[in-house]
C-alpha cells in the first residue's frame, strides 16, 4: 500500500504544519510582536490574561472564532470566500522544504525536494493571488487599492529574492535545502552570511517587503487604506489572514536561517533543533525591530528601490559569485 501510506503521510504532515504554524507563528508571533512593540515604546503590553499576558492571543483567537462572519452585500461571494483559503495555504506550503534540525535518522524535514529552493519561491509567490482576490472580491475601493499595491510590491520584490536564491544555490551547487545547510558545515565552510553578506541583506529587505511589513506596509497602511485588502473580513476569516501573514513571515525567517545562518548547525552542547529555533527567533526579532523603528515608504520609493537598487545589486552579486564559483 505505497500510495495509501503516502496519502496518510501527507495528511499527518498537513495537520502538523497547520497546528504548528497556528500556535507557534500566528499566536506566539502576535504576542511577541505586541510585547516587543511595547518594550520599544516603554509600555507593558498585554499583561492580564495568563501569567504576564502569555495567553492574550489565545483569548483573542477564541474571541475571533465566536464573532459573526460578515460578507459585504455586493461582494463576490465565491472569490471573497476562496481568497481566505489561498493566503494561509500558500504560507503553509512553504514549510514542506524547511529543514528544522537533524536527528540520528537524518534531517528533520517534511520532504527534501531536489528543487527545494525553487519550490519555496513558487509557493510563496501564490500568496499574491489570494491577496488580489481578497481585494477585488470585497467590492471596496480601499481593499482593491490595497490588493493592487500588494500585487505590484510582491511581484517586484520576488525578483531580488529569486536572484538571491540562485546565488546561494550556486554556492552550494544544489537547490536542495538540506544540501545548502550541509554546504555550510565544517571548518572550511563558513556560513553563507559571511561569504555572501550582500545577498543576506538583500534577502532580508526583500523578505520584509514580501510579507508586507513596515517599512513596506503600504499594502495595509492603516492611515490610508483602513486595513488594505482584508478590510472587509471579520471573525475567523480575519484570523486566517493573520495566520497567513505570520506564517509567511516565519517561513521567510526560516528560509533566511537555512540559506545564510547555517540552518540547524551549531555547537554540540545544544540539540540541533534548538539552534534552529534560536536563529529563527533572532531573525524574527530583527523583522519586529525594523517594524517598530522605521516609517513607511511611499509607493514610488518602494518600487524604485527594488528596480533601481536591489535588482541591479543582486544581479551584479550573482555575476561575481558565479565568476568565483567557476574559478574555485
Amino acid at each position: 500500500m505505497h500510495w495509501g501510506w503516502e496519502v496518510l503521510r501527507a495528511i499527518v504532515g498537513t495537520v502538523i504544519i497547520f497546528s504548528g504554524v497556528a500556535v507557534i507563528a500566528a499566536m506566539f508571533g502576535v504576542l511577541l510582536e505586541r510585547k516587543i512593540s511595547a518594550w520599544m515604546q516603554s509600555r507593558l503590553g498585554p499583561k492580564h490574561v495568563g501569567p504576564q499576558g502569555l495567553l492574550q492571543t489565545v483569548a483573542d483567537t477564541i474571541k475571533l472564532l465566536q464573532k459573526e462572519n460578515i460578507v459585504p452585500s455586493r461582494a463576490d461571494r465565491l472569490i471573497f470566500a476562496s481568497a481566505v483559503v489561498i493566503v494561509p495555504l500558500a504560507a503553509l506550503l512553504d514549510y514542506v522544504v524547511i529543514p528544522f534540525g537533524t536527528t540520528r535518522w537524518g534531517p528533520l524535514i517534511f520532504r527534501d525536494l531536489n528543487i527545494g529552493v525553487l519550490y519555496f519561491a513558487a509557493t510563496s509567490s501564490l500568496v499574491v493571488i489570494g491577496i488580489l482576490m481578497a481585494g477585488w472580491g470585497s467590492n471596496n475601493k480601499y481593499a482593491l487599492l490595497g490588493g493592487l499595491r500588494s500585487a505590484a510590491q510582491l511581484v517586484t520584490y520576488e525578483v531580488p529574492i529569486g536572484v538571491v536564491l540562485v546565488t546561494v544555490a550556486l554556492m552550494a551547487g544544489s537547490l536542495s535545502t538540506v544540501t545548502i545547510v550541509n554546504g555550510q558545515a565544517g571548518a572550511h565552510h563558513l556560513w553563507y552570511v559571511l561569504q555572501q553578506p550582500v545577498a543576506f541583506v538583500i534577502f532580508l529587505i526583500a523578505a520584509t517587503a514580501e510579507v508586507n511589513r513596515v517599512p513596506f506596509d503600504l499594502v495595509e497602511a492603516e492611515s490610508e487604506l483602513v486595513a488594505g485588502y482584508f478590510s472587509e473580513y471579520s471573525g475567523m476569516r480575519f484570523a486566517l489572514f493573520q495566520l497567513g501573514e505570520y506564517g509567511e513571515m516565519f517561513a521567510m525567517a526560516a528560509m533566511a536561517v537555512t540559506l545564510f545562518l547555517g540552518g540547524w548547525l551549531g555547537f554540540s552542547f545544544l540539540p540541533a533543533v534548538l539552534w534552529f529555533v534560536i536563529k529563527l527567533y533572532a531573525v524574527i526579532f530583527v523583522f519586529m525591530w525594523v517594524r517598530w523603528t522605521y516609517p513607511r515608504f511611499r509607493i514610488d520609493q518602494m518600487l524604485n528601490f527594488s528596480w533601481k537598487v536591489l535588482i541591479p545589486v543582486s544581479v551584479l552579486n550573482l555575476v561575481v559569485t558565479a565568476f568565483f564559483v567557476i574559478v574555485r
Binding site: H2, W3, G4, D76, L78, I79, S82, L113, N114, I115, L118, Y119, A121, A122, T123, S125, L126, V128, I129, L132, M133, G135, W136, L144, G147, L148, A151, A152, L154, V155, E158, L175
Partner: protein
C-alpha cells in the same frame, strides 16, 4: 486501477474543469482566477511524470506570475470591475477554425507517435536543472538567445508605449 491512474484522472478533471470555466465564465475575474487550478492541475501532471523542475517553474511563472499579471491588468482597466465583458467577438469563426486545426494537429501527432515502452535497461536522460541549463546554453543556444531578444524587445516596447505621454 493503480494509484497513479487515479491521480492522473483527478488532475485531468481539475485541469479540464477549470479550463472550461476559463472560457465560459462571463465574469472575467472568475475566468482569470480559474486559471490557477488549471495551471496547478498541469503542475500535478508534471510531478506525475517526474519532471519536478518544470513543475516548480510552472507554479512560479504561470500560477504565480502570469495569473497575477492578468488579474492586475483586469483590475487596472474597466474601472476595476471587469464585469459584463463579452467572451465572444466578431472573430469567433476564425478562432474556431484555428482551434479545430490545432486540435486536429495534436490528435494526429498523438495517434501517430509509437508510445512504445523504453527497451529494458535503457536509461532516461537526466532531467536536473543542470542538464536543462546545459541544453539551453549548448545545443539550443540559438533558440534561447532568440527568445531573450524577443522578450527584451517586448519589454522595451511596453516601456515606450507607457511613457509616450511626456
Amino acid at each position: 486501477m493503480t494509484g497513479e491512474a487515479i491521480v492522473f484522472y483527478l488532475l485531468a478533471a481539475v485541469t479540464l474543469g477549470s479550463g472550461v470555466m476559463v472560457v465560459t465564465s462571463s465574469n472575467i475575474v472568475h475566468a482569470a482566477a480559474a486559471l490557477v487550478p488549471a495551471f496547478l492541475g498541469v503542475t500535478g501532471l508534471y510531478i506525475l511524470l517526474n519532471a519536478e523542475f518544470v513543475a516548480g517553474i510552472q507554479v512560479l511563472i504561470y500560477a504565480g506570475a502570469i495569473t497575477v499579471l492578468i488579474l492586475f491588468a483586469i483590475m487596472l482597466t474597466e474601472g476595476g470591475t471587469g464585469l459584463g465583458t463579452r467572451q465572444r467577438n466578431e472573430q469567433a469563426a476564425v478562432g474556431t477554425a484555428v482551434a479545430a486545426a490545432m486540435a486536429a494537429l495534436l490528435i494526429a501527432v498523438a495517434v501517430r507517435t509509437g508510445w512504445a515502452p523504453p527497451p529494458a535497461g535503457a536509461v532516461l536522460p537526466s532531467y536536473t536543472p543542470g542538464a536543462i541549463g546545459q541544453s539551453f546554453l549548448r545545443q539550443n543556444i540559438l533558440v534561447f538567445e532568440g527568445t531573450s531578444i524577443v522578450l527584451l524587445v517586448s519589454l522595451m516596447g511596453a516601456i515606450l508605449i507607457a511613457r509616450r505621454e511626456d
